[in-house]
Symmetry: C2
Subunit: 148 residues, 2 copies
Amino acid sequence: MSELSPNAIVANLKAQGLRVTPQRYAVYTNLLGRRDHPTVEQLLADLNQGGPVSSQATVYNSLQALREVGLIREVLLEEGVSRYDANVSPHHHFRCRCCGCIEDIPWDAFGPLAKAALRPGLQPESYEVTVQGICDRCSSPNNPCDAG
Amino acid sequence: MSELSPNAIVANLKAQGLRVTPQRYAVYTNLLGRRDHPTVEQLLADLNQGGPVSSQATVYNSLQALREVGLIREVLLEEGVSRYDANVSPHHHFRCRCCGCIEDIPWDAFGPLAKAALRPGLQPESYEVTVQGICDRCSSPNNPCDAG
DNA sequence: CTTTGTGCAAACGATTTGCAGGATG
DNA sequence: CATCCTGCAAATCGTTTGCACAAAG
């Protein structure tokens, strides 16, 4: 999330037993430098905008490898596409129902949830709050969609 | 969710301006009678197990029609598949990370969330808590997966 | 009778996979 | 140099769509 040096990024990858290839490095670095939650399509376009860096299949492979070792996470908030996030510490998500943009909400934003409310037998391990609403871009006078 | 008479189901459909076809009726009734959140594949298998009732395309069409008028909702909790739920009143979800089963959590299970915690500019309209963990089936001695 | 829905099969889009050549450690 | 990765293209899987026929109101 915060700025990492190239060396630190390489170290992160190696520490998880991943070989450091230019493609993997590029994918991970790109994700670390964003706070939106790009789809594969967006990621690929961004990576290759200054010349070819990685193929589509390799982006998928890289994302899978990074996800398996816990360096990134997948975010599923809309139909049909997976998004990816290099912020792996727990947090919540806001999704604009208008433009579809996704934004992190700090973990402590809601305070602690009541605990003993689940039916007996269910063992909770983690939870996440998803808020849906309108972002400031879409609620402004010259908004890109139907709200405002 | 609770047991509805066939007449009430037909009335529900008509009240939303939907034509009542056997297929639509079957899809809606089936969803009303379940509390898991079936995928299209599961729904289709269930509908047609006693002879042909509906084609795949029609199930998709019916689900879309029912969703557009608000009689059912789509639930997105795992990659690649949409699930459907006839419980349209607000509630939360529990997902077993082991068998993938999904279960409703009553709306009031967590008490109210703190309100003023979003960054200024975001207008929240709704929210939902997703809990991940292990269900009782999977935590039992003869469990279907790797927990226990 | 007009409008909308059904079913089939083909189209689609996101993701996965097989495989030959290439890079990493 | 053994292993793992890349890139291409073909395959897969869930979902959507075009169209001719049938059913609903």
